[in-house]
């Protein structure tokens, strides 16, 4: 076997106690859709697996005081079926629907997607654009909040250590008149890793026909999902127009630095896709509705 013991816990407390007891030899397992493969390929080694999939207190999607809060063990299927997300945070609902296949979405969790830190993880791209935070429990009983911008260290490496920490909750604020969308390109229409994932979140000011806020996350163009700061600045600089979207897409093109990949394509091709897909996703995002206080219809550019 790839592990010696498999423990299914009934309480959060129990999970943390076990991690403490085994001092780095026990590791949390959520859906296992990535971890089991990594164990089988001997990319990771572990003695004890602590299964937290039976903890209902880690499965929820709720809105509280203009914030969306999501339990880390919420599955992709649950996110993809949430009317709340489809109404207010389309980008995250789209991202969860894009993950793998129905079987993978049924067991894979948003928390697992984050901790596993793959460079283009679908929900991570959306959550980066949503400027989300995570709540993490430490096995000394403490709790800390980490913003997504600080969460990822490299390919497959996040700040959360599942042998001593438990990712409890993901949260982010809803913006006034929020528009969002996910742009995704892959070599086929399902069950394929993305060549490119773009998460866009905007807050519009319809009266002045400009943006209050713009966030663009692109992956995989670097070891970790990347916010396109220059493109975001460009979007805030002037009134909305087609030319503005084109210059923002150009800025994203300039910032993207994907490597040559035999599986995902060469650098020139992938950079070109960043330009095309940023423009297209901005257009689709502007045509959506969401967030708080959105009364009138879509905005036209």
């Amino acid at each position: 076997m790839y592990w010696e013991k498999y423990l299914k816990v009934k309480t959060l407390h129990e999970a943390m106690e076990i991690l403490k007891l085994y001092q780095g030899k026990a590791r949390l397992i959520a859906g296992g859709t990535d971890l089991v493969l990594q164990l089988r390929e001997k990319k990771k080694r572990v003695s004890v697996l602590v299964d937290i999939s039976d903890l209902p207190e880690l499965q929820y999607i709720k809105e509280e005081h203009g914030q969306i809060k999501i339990g880390a063990m919420t599955t992709h299927s649950q996110l993809a079926a949430s009317p709340l997300l489809w109404e207010k945070v389309i980008v995250l609902a789209q991202a969860a629907s894009s993950v793998g296949s129905p079987q993978i979405r049924n067991v894979g969790t948003v928390g697992g997607n984050i901790v596993n830190a793959q460079p283009a993880a679908d929900t991570v791209v959306a959550l980066m654009a949503l400027d989300a935070k995570v709540v993490v429990f430490n096995n000394d009983g403490g709790e800390e909040k980490i913003p997504f911008s600080e969460l990822f260290l490299g390919v497959g490496e996040s700040k959360i250590d599942p042998t001593s920490q438990l990712l409890k909750e993901i949260s982010f604020s809803l913006l006034p008149e929020m528009r969002s969308s996910l742009g995704r390109l892959a070599r086929r229409k399902a069950l394929a890793l993305p060549i490119l994932n773009i998460g866009i979140v905007l807050s519009v000011n319809k009266k002045e026909n400009r943006l209050h806020e713009a966030r663009i996350c692109v992956a995989p163009v670097a070891p970790v999902p990347m916010r396109m700061k220059e493109a975001e600045k460009t979007l805030l600089s002037r009134k909305l127009s087609d030319e503005l979207l084109i210059s923002a897409s150009k800025a994203a093109f300039d910032a993207a630095d994907p490597r040559n990949s035999k599986l995902r394509g060469n650098t020139a091709y992938r950079k070109e896709l960043v330009r095309v897909m940023t423009y297209r996703t901005l257009k689709t995002a502007l045509a959506t509705r969401g967030g708080v206080g959105d009364e009138a219809g879509s905005i036209t550019v």
Binding site: L185, R187, R188, A190, L193, Y269, E272, L273, V276, M277
Partner: protein, 335 residues
């Protein structure tokens, strides 16, 4: 921008092994309760040969499909039927099973002729009933015949053997490589995104001459499956090497189409009877795959005005070719 184009691909394909003997054998036994057991070495790997062989025997023996049991691909008990390859089983094992059924039928006819006092030649076996073609009132049920056979100690069994007429190829490659050929033409409509290079197959129309569709739904299944495999061959399937090692050796990165990539496939079954085939049938397994990639490549060329000489045609290759074509056009304008 999205551009659409249409393309056609046509093919012929020889059924069976090239210029080699590739026989198939079968046993058929009719039991007292009028059910039938077929023994054949033919391996059903999902294409439906077991169903088709049962249909052929049922038709020949005038009994219901549900009364046929097929014991297949068990080297301990079944006669050799050759490989499930070369689109050959319906044609070759179909003939073997039909001949085995005919040989079992001879015993039934002999017994029937004796009991009815008419010559064998004027008898017909249908719906579990033996009738005289000259006078339909002269009849006896199959059940009665089987009962008589049991009384006499006669087993109603038959064996059949079929080997397509081929002639080995000489030094110049001349001979008769196949006894029969399948023919097909497919038409494909694609939509190409000129900014991302993505290719969408919108429609496939696939016309296949199968001689006789023993099971039309299974033939459609073969045509649809073959077209989808052909689409994967045209657009996705590729072994990628890095330093001599295959880096996409799993189905997570060696891609074939999923249900979401599958276009609408409209099958047209053409039935041009093959005189040497069982009830006129020949093969369709591989032919369904062959013209699809050609038709897709032609459709892409029709949409973009650019020819591709290498498969798979990936979005990246599309964008690169469009860029090269644009540059060439610009240069030409300059002069």
């Amino acid at each position: 921008m999205k551009k659409r184009g249409c393309g056609i691909g046509s093919m012929w394909y020889g059924i069976g092994n090239t210029g080699l003997p590739n026989p198939s054998g079968a046993f058929v036994q009719v039991l007292d309760d009028c059910t039938v057991i077929i023994h054949t070495g033919c391996a059903d790997i999902g294409q439906g040969s077991t169903t088709v062989l049962a249909q052929i025997a049922a038709e020949e023996l005038g009994v219901n499909f549900n009364d046929i049991s097929v014991i297949c691909a068990d080297t301990g008990v079944t006669p050799d039927a050759g490989k499930t390859s070369a689109s050959r089983q319906t044609y070759i094992s179909g003939n073997a099973v039909r001949k085995a059924a005919q040989s079992a039928k001879e015993t039934i006819f002999k017994k029937g002729a004796e009991l009815l006092q008419v010559p064998e030649e004027e008898l017909i076996l249908k719906n579990y009933q033996l009738n005289s073609l000259k006078n339909y009132n002269i009849q006896i049920s199959l059940k009665e015949i089987m009962a008589k056979c049991r009384e006499d100690g006669t087993l109603v069994i038959g064996h059949g053997w079929f080997n397509p007429q081929t002639k080995g190829l000489d030094k110049r490659g001349q001979g008769i490589p196949y006894a029969t050929y399948a023919f097909a033409t497919q038409w494909v409509e694609v939509e190409v995104d000129t900014e991302t290079g993505e290719i969408d197959i919108l429609n496939v129309v696939a016309a296949h001459d199968v001689g006789k569709a023993v099971n039309p739904m299974a033939v459609e299944g073969q045509i649809e499956g073959g077209s989808v495999m052909g689409a994967g061959y045209a657009l996705m399937e590729e072994i990628i090497l890095d330093d001599g090692k295959i880096i996409n050796s799993s189905f997570s990165n060696y891609l074939i189409p999923t249900i979401k990539d599958v276009p609408c496939v409209n099958s047209i079954i053409v039935e041009e009877e093959e005189v040497t085939g069982p009830f006129g049938a020949k093969g369709v397994g591989e032919p369904a795959l062959i013209p699809t990639a050609t038709a897709i490549a032609n459709a892409i060329s029709n949409a973009l005005g650019i020819r591709f000489y290498e498969l798979p045609i990936t979005p990246e290759k599309i964008l690169n070719s469009l860029k090269t074509a644009n540059n060439t056009n610009k240069n030409q304008r300059d002069f």
